[in-house]
């Protein structure tokens, strides 16, 4: 970083650099030592680039001022130097509208797209989560050797709180829904049962009333609740006297203690009701250390405590607990994970990838404008030479080109900002996932700083070559030198190769994402999602038999409705993203081990007919029937993942398996079904045990309806049937299963689409750029082509000559681009779904595509060359 700053210092005017350079570097080293990071790096780069430009401008102004005071005070005396250059530049740009428009449009595209993506990056990654110390906040989970991450046992949590030395505070939360009775009718409200430290940890303040404290957080306390501002405004109609009134569900009554401030939200859950988790402390599930009743722990690390130290502290505690309570805790470990990783983890790499791609597009845009500028500078040789002849110095000519470039940058950057201003809301709206901070994306001061920096750097990149060119032309008396010289040709070749290479990199990235998307779209979810409607039903009634009767009756009534093929119920439907319940399991006859050492399985309840309705394939045995009820043997259907693991060599049917949290515990396997994607389309399927709903009734199930018509047309009659059965049921959520499938592919579609767009833009810009470079070269060599034709060359040969030139440069660009992609694509590994980062097809297709584009782009100038009129070409110059 130090050497980068030293390099950037070279952009400053020499007097400033000599006087302050060393001090500046020392000061930078000090601040780097204290807060090293890419944020500081970015700010410093932007700051130094902007300052260098400003210093140059100031210096020019001063020089001009001195000169004008001596030489031509009488002219336009009140205009100071650089302002005059800008005015000149403005006139010059207006004289060549084609050039100006092309350059401005290209810059607007590049800077606008970059700014839009950076606004999102800034909101989600740079600003961080809206909590007091987001970098110190962590999630803590438990894990067992054969089960992966789990939620937390209440008693373990209370011990963590007492024994840890790494955290300032710890809180737990249990997120679920409460069916509240509101004046507008029953309503399912997202609820968090939280311990009192939760609010302090996340910096939540009350807008009205108070937040509950430790006294409220105990089983003997009067139940109180805190609601979100959104809930108070929408559901309580902004009632100013709401505090102290009751908020009731069918089983609980809470007194409203406070309303949270409008800005607070526990993203991405959008919780509306917060109640003290301590009210449940006497609950038998909370009293059982083995039980993990859906609790998530969060904590804030003390200042100076590293993640590694917090982890080792937690593991020491877990070892202590394992010794004290071997039955429940042996082998258990704790995982400590930063907030940012859990909440924006996957999105991070996606956004950085998009930012990288868009910066590449901007680079191509700069290369194009650079070439435009070079060609224009060459076209103005005569103008510059005349001005040099009548006394304009090298500095003056350079300053004028600088002024023109600054104007272009200013206009392009300004329009780019405007484009981003309109584009960002579209971008965040289209983004198909709830990401903390995303909603607040917009143009703020740090985005403006970024855009200013990016624009200045772009100005340097595209303006440097033409600027030097102008200076040289001004110096050299022989006007034939300059752009057409060897140096000019090399610059153009570099631009050509760079554009192709960068376009290859972006295209390979887009190609890999596209391949991942295709693979995912053709992935088999294990069931038939088309013509399938899912209705989530959560009943307030805890009684098992009543729930069984309700769901059986609902299925019966729905299946007789017109347009319905069949109906069934399942506790955790496919593609839900998680399983509601899990349990340790053991095949009958295997040596017993403590639960923490056993493998775990998802546990699911299904009505008879569920597998047929969902379209899940039976591998062996039988489906559930209505005779599998509370009075018959406890039976189970297992998935192939479990069957293969437990009985790899024989049939599973007829075997028996202990599933700890299933009713009856020892279950007879009657069937094996194909694996269903439970945890989302990209998940690998783990073991799953299904038991008949009649043998283990629950109060929340998803009713699946297989329809003959478009499933959405049935959503109204079906929900009406359900609500007729239970008038107190809150509004139910109805989703066509295809929408669930789409949800799991939406993010990939979005990033593949955006990257595809960038790659298209890159290819288009590269094609325009390459074509421009070739056209210029051809124009330079017209005389040569004229001579060739005059001495008998076929026109086809001339055409080939130009194409060959283009192809040579293209080949070089492709080679460099492929090399860079080979290295860079490994960074994408985490974002790819079953596609090798060095995927052969992508790496073969991208160069072919670019080569075709390059041939087409070179064809136009090549035909121009072939059509040369020897007589006219020879008369030129």
């Amino acid at each position: 970083m130090r050497s980068l700053v030293a390099f950037l210092l070279r952009m400053f005017p020499a007097p400033f650099r000599r006087r302050f350079g060393g001090d500046l570097l020392a000061t930078f080293e000090d601040s780097w030592r204290e807060r090293a990071g890419w944020r500081l790096a970015l700010r410093t780069i932007a700051d130094l680039s902007a300052c260098a430009a400003l210093e140059h401008a100031a210096q020019l102004r001063e020089r001009q001022y001195r000169r004008t005071t001596i030489e031509d005070r009488q002219g336009d005396g009140q205009m100071n130097g650089f302002l005059r250059e800008l005015r000149f530049g403005w006139r010059a740009l207006r004289r060549s509208p084609g050039y100006s428009l092309a350059a401005i449009l290209t810059l607007t595209l590049g800077i606008g797209a970059t700014t839009a993506i950076y606004s999102v990056v800034n909101a989600v990654l740079v600003k961080g989560l809206p909590y007091p110390h987001p970098e110190r906040l962590v999630f803590i989970n438990e894990a067992m050797p054969k089960s992966g991450m789990m939620n937390v046992s209440w008693l373990d949590f209370t011990d963590w709180k007492k024994q840890n030395r790494s955290f300032t505070a710890m809180a737990v939360m249990q997120i679920n829904q409460t069916n509240l009775m509101l004046t507008s009718g029953p309503r399912a409200v997202p609820t968090a049962w939280v311990s009192s430290a939760f609010f302090e940890l996340l910096g939540a303040k009350a807008a009205m009333g108070r937040i509950f404290d430790e006294q409220d957080d105990s089983p003997s306390a009067v139940p109180v609740a805190v609601v979100s501002y959104r809930f108070w405004r929408n559901q309580l109609k902004g009632d100013p006297g709401a505090i102290g009134k009751p908020v009731a569900s069918r089983t609980d009554v809470f007194t409203l203690a406070g309303v949270l401030a409008p800005g607070f939200d526990f993203q991405p859950y959008e919780i509306d009701l917060y109640v003290p988790v301590g009210l449940k402390a006497n609950n038998p599930r909370f009293g059982n250390r083995e039980d993990h009743p859906g609790l998530q722990a969060i904590a804030e690390m003390r200042e100076g405590v590293t993640l590694a130290r917090a982890r080792s502290d937690m593991n020491t505690i877990m070892q202590r607990l394992a010794q004290a309570y071997p039955a429940s805790d042996r082998g258990e470990t704790a995982t400590v994970e930063p907030f940012a990783k859990r909440l924006v983890g996957d999105v991070r790499s996606e956004l950085l990838l998009l930012l990288g791609a868009v910066l590449f597009v901007l680079l191509i845009a700069c290369a194009n404008v650079a070439h435009l500028g070079l060609a224009r500078a060459a076209g103005r040789r005569r103008e510059f030479a005349i001005r040099a002849a009548i006394g304009a110095g090298r500095g003056r000519l350079t300053a004028q080109v600088l002024a023109e470039n600054l104007l272009l940058t200013l206009i392009g950057g300004g329009l780019g900002l405007a484009a981003a201003h309109w584009g960002v809301p579209v971008l965040t709206k289209l983004y198909p996932a709830a990401v903390p901070g995303l909603k607040d994306a917009g143009l703020d001061s740090s985005v403006l700083l970024f855009t200013a920096g990016v624009s200045m750097v772009s100005c340097l990149i595209f303006g440097l070559a033409p600027m030097l060119q102008a200076g040289r032309v001004g110096l050299s008396a022989s006007m034939a030198e300059g752009m057409s010289g060897r140096r000019g040709r090399r610059t153009r070749a570099v631009l050509f190769v760079a554009e192709i290479a960068i376009a290859i990199v972006v295209t390979v990235g887009a190609g890999l994402l596209l391949r991942s998307l295709m693979t995912l779209l053709s992935a088999d979810p294990g069931f038939r999602p088309d013509h399938l409607l899912a209705i989530d039903v959560v009943r307030g009634d805890p009684s098992g038999p009543a729930n069984l009767a309700f769901f059986s009756e609902a299925i019966e009534r729905i299946s007789h409705q017109p347009g319905v093929v069949s109906a069934a119920a399942i506790m955790s439907p496919p593609l839900l993203g998680w399983s509601n319940w899990s349990s340790p399991f053991l095949a009958e006859g295997r040596a017993d081990v403590p639960d923490t050492q056993k493998p775990w399985t998802a546990l699911n309840m299904a009505s008879p007919g569920y597998f047929q309705t969902a379209g899940i394939r039976l591998v062996e045995g039988r489906y559930f029937t209505s005779s599998d009820d509370a009075h018959s043997t406890n039976v189970a259907i297992v998935n192939q993942a479990l069957a293969r693991r437990v009985w790899p060599d024989g049939s599973a049917v007829g075997k028996r398996v202990h599933v700890k949290y299933a009713e009856g515990e020892l279950l007879q396997v009657v069937g094996v079904i194909a694996d269903v994607k439970q945890g989302g389309l990209e998940s690998t399927t783990g073991p799953e045990v299904f038991v008949p709903m009649a043998q283990m009734p629950v109060n929340f199930m998803t009713i699946l309806v297989r329809t003959s018509a478009n499933p959405e047309t049935l959503s109204k009659p079906v929900t009406e049937t359900i609500h007729d059965l239970d008038k107190r049921l809150p509004a139910t959520k109805v989703t066509p299963m295809m929408a669930m499938v789409t949800r799991w592919t939406a993010r990939r579609k979005f990033s593949a689409l955006l990257l595809g767009l960038f790659s298209g833009l890159a290819i288009l810009l590269a094609a325009v750029g390459v074509s421009g470079v070739m056209a210029y070269t051809v124009a330079q060599r017209m005389r040569e082509f004229g001579i060739r034709v005059a001495v008998g060359a076929q026109r086809g040969q001339v055409l080939l000559l130009v194409l060959k030139d283009g192809m040579r440069l293209t080949a070089l660009g492709v080679a460099i681009g492929l090399g860079a992609s080979w290295g860079l694509s490994r960074l994408l590994t985490s974002m790819l779904y079953r596609v090798n980062p060095h995927d052969g097809l992508t790496f073969a297709a991208a160069p072919v595509l670019l080569a075709v584009v390059a041939v087409v782009a070179c064809l136009l100038p090549a035909r121009m060359a072939a059509k040369v009129d020897p007589m006219r070409a020879l008369r030129q110059e």
Binding site: L24, T27, D30, T44, D47, L48, C51, A52, E55
Partner: protein, 110 residues
């Protein structure tokens, strides 16, 4: 433009830099830290901007170089700089009085 009284309001960044130097000579990094702390994080200068302002204040005669510690120079206030700072402080105090009069600021709180 050597020593002269500055009737113009100072820019916030200039003011905080002069304020940081009121306690004695400092080098660039100390100025940066102090200005940031004393402004409650509002004046957050990057190195380039810092030295551009220092250059301007030196030019205006508000600052002078005050020796070096081997790695970099220290700067201190000149009399003109101290006067400019005082003038700004008085101007701000006047504004505070005015705000209190108009009941936009509570009394007795600085």
């Amino acid at each position: 433009m050597s020593e002269h009284f500055s009737p113009e309001p100072l820019k916030p960044a200039d003011f905080h830099i002069l304020l940081a130097l009121a306690g004695g000579p400092r080098h660039g990094y100390e100025i940066m830290k102090e200005a940031e702390a004393e402004s409650g994080g509002r004046v957050c200068l990057e190195v380039g901007t810092l030295y551009r302002i220092l250059a301007r204040l030196l030019e205006a005669g508000f600052l002078e170089e005050a020796g070096e510690d081997g790695r970099r120079r220290n700067y201190s206030l000149t009399r003109a700089g101290r006067r400019a700072l005082q003038a700004e402080a008085e101007r701000l105090a006047g504004v505070v009085d005015l705000l209190r009069e108009r009941r936009l600021l509570p009394r007795g709180e600085a």
